[in-house]
Amino acid sequence: MRNEIYLDNSATTPVAEEVLQAMEPYWRIQYGNPSSPHLRGVAAENTLNSNRKQLARLLQAEPEHLYFTASGTEANNIAILGAASSPFFRRNPGHIITTPIEHPSVLRVIDHLKELGWSASYLKVDRYGHVDAQEVASLLQPTTRIVSVMLVNNELGTIAPVREIGRLIDAANRERQHKIVFHVDAVQALGHVPISIPDLKAHLVSFSGHKIFGPKGIGLLYANRQAQLRPIMFGGDQERGLRPGTENIPAVVGLTKAAQLVLDSLAENVQQLEELRQALIEGIKTIPNSRINSPLHGAPHLLNASFPGVRGEVLVHFLEQKRIFVSMGAACSSKKKGASHVLEAVGLDQEDILSAIRFSLAPTLTLDQIQYVVYSLKETVEEIRNIYI
C-alpha cells in the first residue's frame, strides 16, 4: 500500500480510517433494523435519523428531502425515472434536456425513456465539455419535464453552470402548469467543489459514498417536493417508500462521516489538489507531443491527457508495473474503438481518444509523488513510443 500511487480516485477511493471506525459498531453491536418495533430497532432508527440530519446540515438541505440509495447510479435512476413517472407524464411521454457527456447512469436511463416514447435534446459541448446555460432556454419545449446536467464531469473534470441553468428553469416554471424538474448529478463534485443545495437551484441532486473515502454500496438523493418523485421500486416503506429495502445503516454512517470529513476540510483539500494538479499539468507539458484534454479551470482532482502514439491501455499496464494506478480515458475494448462517449462528444480525434489517460487525485498525495509520477510517465511514454514505430 505504502509505495503505491493511486491516481484513480474518480473510480473509487479507499475508505478513510475514521470512516471505518465510525462504521465499526454498526455491523455487530448496533445491528438493528430501523423497522423493528423493539429497542434494537429504535436505536437503528435513531441512528438513521441523526445521520440524515447531519448530512442535511452539511449540504444545507432539509433532512426530509434526503433519501439513502444503494449507489450514485441508483440515485440517478430514481431521480430521472421517478420524475418521469408523475401521474401526468406517465400517460404523456415528455421531453428531456441533458448533455452528451453525462454518466451512463443518466444517458442510458434517458435511452430507456426514449424507447417509451420520450424525446431528448442534448446541449452542445465545446472542446473541453463546457455547456452554455442559455442554450437550455432555447431547447425548452412545452412538454419538457426533466433537465439533467452533471456538476463535475467524471472524465474531464469540467464544471457545469448549474446555478444559471437552475435559475433559468425557475423562471420558466412560473408560467408552466407541468413543472420542469432539474436534476444535478453531483457524484464527482462532492468534496471537490463547494456544494450548497439551495445554491444549486436543483430539485434533484445525486451523491455517492465511495468517491469520497466512504464505503461502496451507498448513495444519496436530494429530492424536494417540487420534484414530485414517484417510486420506481416497490416494497416496504423505507425512505418514505421511495427506496424500499432495509436501510444499510453501517454504510449510512460511513457516508455521513466521509461527507463530514471532506466537507470540513474542503478548502485545504481543494488547495492541495490544485497544487498537485498544477504540478501534474506542468510535468505533462514537458512530455513531447502530449495534450491536456481537461479545462484549465475544472475540478481540482481531475486531469485528462493524451499521449498520441501510446495506447491508453498499454500505458496503464506499463505504469501499474511501477505501482502507479491510472485509468484510461477511453474504454479498454479494442472491439469498440474510442468508446469514451465523453471524449468523442467534445470532438477529440481518434488518436487522442485512444491514447487518453485520466489522472484523478486525492489530497493525501504529495508533490513528491506527483514528481515521481511525471518522471515515470515521461520515461514510459518514451519507451512505448520507441517500441511502436
Binding site: V314, H317, A331, C332, S334, K336, I387, Y388
Partner: protein
C-alpha cells in the same frame, strides 16, 4: 426411476487389438468426469458399459453426454425374470416415452428364459397395445423401440437413446499442444481435436504489459471450460513469455510482416515445447482465408519454421459454423470478452496477405531469433487446471 444407464461406444469396437486400451481410457475418463456425482458401479459387458445410478440418472446422463468416445446413453429399468414383472416394467418405460408408434426388440442371451424372443415380443406388444390406446405398432419406422434384454441377472428394459458426442476418448490418440489465444476459434479447434482422441495441453502467448492480467484470466477461463472434454487428469496450460518478442517485432523494419513473423515465433516456441513435453502435433484455430495470417500464402510461410504436424481442424469451416460450435461447447461467452490479446494490440495497418519467404527471412536476419525463442521458453510458466 431408472437404476441403470446403458453407455454405448460404437467406434471403439472397430479398433481391433487396441480395443482394451481404448476401453480402459474411456472408463477412466468416465470415472473422473463423474467423480463429484453420486453413482454406483461401472460395469463393462458385451462391448458396452452399465452405470448404476443413485436416483440421479438424468444428471449422470447429462455428464456422460459431454464425454468423447460415447455414442449414446439409455436410461434402463431392471426387472426380475418373470413375465408379469417384465410387463409392468414395460408399461412404466412406455409411459415415459413420447411417440405414437413403436416396436418391441428382444435380445435373449440367457436362453433359459421360458419364452423365446418372438414369443416375448408378441406378449409385450400385445400388453402395450391393450394398455396404451394411442399407440400403434410400426416395425419399419417406429417413433421408439422398446428394447428388452433377457440376461441371467434379469430383464433390462429401455426406450430412450440420448445422443452423445461420439468421437474417440480423449487421450486415446496421443498428446497435442493447442495454441490458445483469447479468441473464438482456438478453443473450438481444441474441442475438435479432443473429439479425435487427442489429449490437449494449452499454450498461450502472454505479452504483459501490452495486454492485461485480465486477458490471461480469460484464457485460463477458456481452458477451464475445455478441461472437462479433455478426459482424466489436470489440464496443463502453458503461458509463454512473449513480451520481448513483441517489442523486437515492433522495432523491426518490416511492419507489414510483423504478424507473419509473430506467428513464426509462436510456432517455433510451440514446436520446441511440444518436443520437450512429448506432444505429437500442434493444433491451431486457423480457418483458411479468415484473416491475413490465414491465407494459403501466409500459412505456407508460417508453417515453414517447423516439421511438426499441425492440425487445423477449422480449416474448412466458416465463421458462423465456428461461432455456433463455440456457443454449444460453452466457450463463446468468454471468448467475446473485450480484453486485448496480442493479436489485437499489434495488428499493423496493412498486414501482408501474401508474404514472401525471402522477405521474411531477410527480416528475421535482423533479429536474434534463437535467443528470443529460448528466453520465451525459459520464462514459460505452467498452470495446472483441475476440473
Amino acid at each position: 426411476m431408472y437404476p441403470l444407464l446403458l453407455v454405448r461406444y460404437g467406434e471403439l469396437s472397430l479398433k481391433g487389438r487396441n480395443r482394451k486400451t481404448f476401453e480402459d481410457i474411456l472408463l477412466n475418463n468416465i470415472r473422473s468426469a463423474l467423480a463429484d456425482l453420486p453413482h454406483g458401479r461401472l460395469t463393462k459387458t458385451y462391448g458396452r458399459v452399465y452405470l448404476e445410478t443413485k436416483d440421479n440418472w438424468a444428471e449422470l446422463a447429462e455428464r456422460l453426454q459431454g464425454i468423447f468416445g460415447i455414442v449414446s446413453v439409455s436410461p434402463v429399468l431392471r426387472r426380475e425374470l418373470d413375465l408379469e414383472q417384465i410387463k409392468e416394467g414395460a408399461s412404466l418405460v412406455v409411459k415415459d416415452t413420447p411417440g405414437s408408434t413403436f416396436k418391441v426388440g428382444v435380445r435373449r442371451p440367457y436362453k433359459a428364459f421360458p419364452l423365446n424372443s418372438p414369443e416375448l415380443c408378441h406378449a409385450l406388444g400385445g400388453h402395450i397395445l391393450r394398455n396404451f390406446s394411442h399407440l400403434k405398432v410400426d416395425v419399419h419406422n417406429p417413433d421408439f423401440v422398446l428394447d428388452v434384454e433377457i440376461r441371467q441377472e434379469g430383464a433390462f428394459l429401455y426406450s430412450q437413446t440420448l445422443p452423445c458426442l461420439r468421437g474417440l476418448p480423449a487421450g486415446s490418440s496421443g498428446k497435442g499442444l493447442l495454441l490458445l489465444s483469447g479468441g473464438i476459434d482456438s478453443p473450438v479447434a481444441g474441442f475438435l481435436s479432443m473429439k479425435r482422441g487427442v489429449k490437449i495441453e494449452g499454450l498461450h502467448f502472454y505479452s504483459y504489459p501490452f495486454t492485461s492480467e485480465r486477458s490471461k484470466a480469460k484464457v485460463v477461463e477458456l481452458a477451464t471450460r475445455l478441461a472437462p472434454y479433455n478426459g482424466h487428469g489436470v489440464f496443463k496450460l502453458w503461458i509463454a513469455y512473449f513480451t520481448e518478442i513483441q517489442k523486437a517485432l515492433q522495432k523491426g523494419s518490416y511492419p507489414n510482416l510483423s504478424i507473419t513473423l509473430m506467428r513464426r515465433f509462436m510456432l517455433r516456441i510451440a514446436s520446441k515445447l511440444a518436443q520437450r513435453e512429448k506432444a505429437l502435433a500442434l493444433i491451431t484455430g486457423d480457418s483458411l482465408g479468415q484473416v491475413a495470417s490465414q491465407t494459403m500464402e501466409s500459412i505456407h510461410v508460417i508453417n515453414e519454421v517447423t516439421n511438426m504436424p499441425i492440425f487445423r481442424p477449422l480449416i474448412g469451416m466458416d465463421k458462423q459454423e465456428i461461432i455456433d460450435l463455440s456457443v454449444s461447447i460453452g466457450t463463446y461467452e468468454t471468448s467475446i470478452l473485450p480484453y486485448e490479446d496480442c493479436c489485437t494490440v499489434f495488428v499493423p495497418k496493412n498486414p501482408a496477405t501474401k508474404p514472401k519467404l525471402e522477405q521474411v527471412l531477410r527480416a528475421e536476419a535482423e533479429l536474434d531469433v534463437d535467443g528470443l525463442v529460448s528466453e520465451a521458453i525459459e520464462k514459460t510458466e505452467l498452470l495446472e487446471l483441475r476440473n
